[in-house]
Amino acid sequence: MTLYFGDILPYLPVMLEALWVSIYVTLISFAAGGVLGIFIYLAKASRFRSLKLISNGYIEVIRNTPLLVQLYLIYFGLGSIGINFNPLWSVLIGMTLNNSAYTAEIFRAGISAVPKGLREAGTALGMPFHQTFRYVILKPGIRNVLPALTNQFIVLFLFSSIGSVIALGELTSTLQNLNSQTLRTLEIFSVGALLYFLTSAAIAVASRITERLAFRW
């Protein structure tokens, strides 16, 4: 068989445009989910039993159901009872909620990995807990979570491909459309895979550089 990458070259701008949709959907849900994740982590780490219970339940439900099913629930499930979101909003909500549960766990792991002795040293100096947290625990904690957060970002970016099941118009659904137009299946999807790969690799490299610049200690 012969491959005709030349045939799909004209479609590259369309693909890049769709890639951008994938990226910004990821960026928004990563940021929103990150903020939500901080609150879920704080609830989980709090003294209040009810808050702990709710946040734990939330995390477990989200982490033990497929994102695809979550997306169906939001788009079709809620739609069937009259709560309608368009594909973009559905994907944003689904990915944000999904990401928040994973990020909350990442925060928990990272903060609890900060040596207990550092907190004690802060306490022994007479700093109230909020100061100890802010000046002593936070930075080492962020350093602990950065690799896991980067990983989560990449996973989320790749997960954004499920937007294709409700025709979001991100990269994967665009690849499907181009495939049915051109029938250059192998070429279309290998170029698509390459675009996903290059973006993920760029994110990983950027994270490494950030780590090196931000954490010089």
């Binding site: 040293a121 007479g126 700093m127 954490f215």
Partner: protein
């Protein structure tokens, strides 16, 4: 008396680690606490600034009753410096920033003032040239001296030392002990949990031997080391030689 401890009991679950400790420390006194591992000596020390809560008893330090209804523990801790076995130097801050943090955030001292004070303390512990490096480049002994300077920056009236040289390479132990000795000579009130019998013998005003959660014996270094009265003290000391 700057520290008064009465009937101190502490349990971790069902395990009772302190079984009624009574002890007093006067201003300027250096008290060394010795004893086998698991005897409760570190727990005792950590109760003195309420880093560890206790089950029963009273601790008064610098005029504050730790379990009093109106006691502000953070205010108490500002007056009580603590040095840990594991240094607990803040890894993400340069040496000088480690020392300046608490005076600036808790003591409301200006940055310039905190830096001046910090540099003076670094000179005291012999680390002026390390002010602007991160702790990861320091040896254990240097880190511990930074930790001492950091505690001193709050101008405490009492210093607590929790096995300050136990995690150190033998060749750096001396530098840390020298700093502590100087402090003692300057009249700092110190409670030192230690395995360094040489230091206890030379620097302590009083030595306290703990075993199984109680104070078995106390006295001057001469009494404890030359003529220990209790069998458990004798056994412990003989194992060290």
């Amino acid at each position: 008396m700057i520290i008064t401890v009465e009937g101190l009991h502490k349990s971790f679950g069902k395990l009772e680690v302190l079984k009624g400790i009574d002890c007093e420390v006067s201003v300027g006194e250096v008290l060394c606490v010795i004893g086998p591992s698991g005897s409760g000596k570190s727990t005792f020390l950590r109760c003195l600034n309420f880093l560890e809560s206790f089950t029963e008893g009273q601790v008064t330090i610098g005029g504050h009753n730790l379990t009093g209804p109106k006691t502000n523990l953070n205010a108490v801790r500002r007056d009580v410096g603590m040095v840990f076995q594991g240094f607990n130097v803040f890894p993400h801050m340069k040496v000088i920033d480690n020392i300046m943090l608490a005076p600036m955030k808790v003591g409301k001292v200006s940055r310039t003032e905190a830096r001046t004070r910090g540099m003076a303390l670094l000179e005291k512990v012999g680390l002026t040239n390390k002010a602007d490096v991160y702790p990861s480049t320091l040896s254990g002994g240097q880190m511990q001296r930074v930790a001492i300077a950091r505690a001193l920056a709050m101008e405490p009236t009492v210093m607590l030392f929790d096995e300050p040289t136990s995690a150190l390479d033998p060749e750096t132990v001396g530098d840390v002990l020298d700093v502590m000795k100087t402090l003692a000579e300057e009249g700092m009130t110190m409670v030192v949990v230690t395995h360094e019998m040489g230091f206890a013998r030379e620097v302590a005003d009083r030595v306290l031997f703990m075993d199984a959660g109680v104070i078995v014996e106390e006295g001057t270094p001469a009494q404890i080391f030359e003529s220990p009265q209790h069998v458990r003290t004798q056994t412990f000391l003989s194992k060290l030689l």
